[in-house]
Structures are given as structure tokens and as C-alpha cells.
């Protein structure tokens, strides 16, 4: 009963997430400056983390969730490294 409702929800929600990721990727390829590209890659990473959490319920598996946590932390790390490089001219320790 609840599983049928969940499959109907997935048919509604998965195209929304895939379309959003494709539009973010268009901005990531077109972006005129470096911060635009980094912002678009950041949005792709966070949305992919949420999408992996949804897919973990869809496939009934726990292994996708650990990847989602690591992906969110990696996107934050990318932000901080690029901001340090743009502000100071070096990455440093």
C-alpha cells in the first residue's frame, strides 16, 4: 500500500531532480567566470546528495547514504579551497 504510493511519488519526483541537475550543468559549462562554475558544481553536489538519499529508499539499500554524507562535505571543501585561492592567491595549509 505505502510502497505503491512511494513508486507513484518517484515517477513524479525523479524527472524534477534530473531536469534541475541538467539545468545546473548548463550553467556550469556556460559560466563566464570561475565563481559561477564553482557555484553551479556546488548546487549539483548538494542536489546529488539529496537525490542519493531518495534513491537509497528506491533501491532499498543503505550503501548510498554514506556516499551522500561524503559528497556534501566534499562540496563544502571545494568552496573553501576556491575561496582561499581567489582571495589570497594560494591554497596553503
Amino acid at each position: 500500500m505505502l510502497e505503491d504510493a512511494f513508486m507513484t511519488l518517484m515517477k513524479l519526483v525523479i524527472p524534477l531532480y534530473l531536469l534541475a541537475i541538467v539545468i545546473y550543468a548548463v550553467r556550469a559549462f556556460r559560466g563566464p567566470t570561475v565563481p559561477d562554475i564553482i557555484l553551479a558544481v556546488d548546487c549539483i553536489s548538494f542536489d546529488l546528495a539529496a537525490f542519493m538519499a531518495i534513491l537509497a529508499i528506491y533501491f532499498k539499500s543503505v550503501f548510498l547514504i554514506g556516499g551522500a554524507i561524503t559528497l556534501a562535505l566534499w562540496a563544502y571543501l571545494l568552496d573553501i579551497y576556491v575561496a582561499k585561492h581567489l582571495a589570497r592567491g594560494e591554497v596553503g595549509a
Partner: protein, 119 residues
């Protein structure tokens, strides 16, 4: 009880998908980097944090799921991490862009420049 949790989580996931589409369209159509930051924050907070919390509620309510407590807890932790990390990263990126003068800064209203001009 489990039906209430399930449908609340499904509603939050649908809200997340709609916010995601709006953030993506804004990131594609807005003219300037500093204006695009607004759409990007809509896309991360509304499009990633709310569906992660909704996934946590939905996994708690779903009785067909084998490892539902592990999926619920880990997606809640991911939601808290994104909730803390996305605004900090966007702020750091805006600060670095303004400091490196990569994007032309053209505000509509600049009170400090008006005061300096009148003195």
C-alpha cells in the same frame, strides 16, 4: 502513525523538487554572479535540506524498508551538514569574488557613495 510520517515526508520531497527547479531556472537566467547567489541558496536550502529531512521522515514511516533506521539517521545527519555548510560556502565564495574583483560590482543603491558625493 506511520502513514502520517510517510505522507509528511512525501510532501517535503515534492516541495524540494519544486524549489530545485526554481533554483536551477534562476541560476540559468539571472544576469550577475551576486544575483545568482540568491538562486543558488534557494536551490541548496530548499532543494537539498528539505528533501533530506523529508527522506528521514519517509524512511521512518515506511514499513516496507529493510534498514529504515540507518537510512533515516544518516539522511538526517546529511541534512544538518548541508544546512550548516551551504550558507558558509556561499558566503566565502562571495567574499573571495568581491575581494579578487572578478565580477563588476554595480549596485542599484549605494548609500555610502551618495554620502561621500554630498560632502
Amino acid at each position: 502513525m506511520s502513514e502520517i510520517l510517510f505522507y509528511l515526508g512525501a510532501f517535503m520531497i515534492i516541495i524540494g523538487g519544486i524549489c530545485d527547479i526554481f533554483g536551477a531556472i534562476g541560476l540559468l537566467r539571472f544576469p550577475n554572479f551576486y544575483i545568482r547567489l540568491h538562486a543558488a541558496t534557494v536551490g541548496t536550502i530548499g532543494g537539498a535540506v528539505i528533501p533530506l529531512f523529508g527522506t528521514s521522515l519517509l524512511a521512518l514511516g515506511a514499513d516496507f524498508l529493510p534498514h529504515k533506521y540507518a537510512i533515516a539517521g544518516a539522511s538526517f545527519v546529511t541534512g544538518v551538514i548541508v544546512l550548516l555548510a551551504a550558507p558558509a560556502g556561499a558566503t566565502a565564495l562571495a567574499y573571495a569574488t568581491h575581494k579578487a574583483k572578478l565580477v563588476k560590482w554595480e549596485p542599484k543603491v549605494d548609500d555610502l557613495a551618495e554620502v561621500r558625493r554630498n560632502d
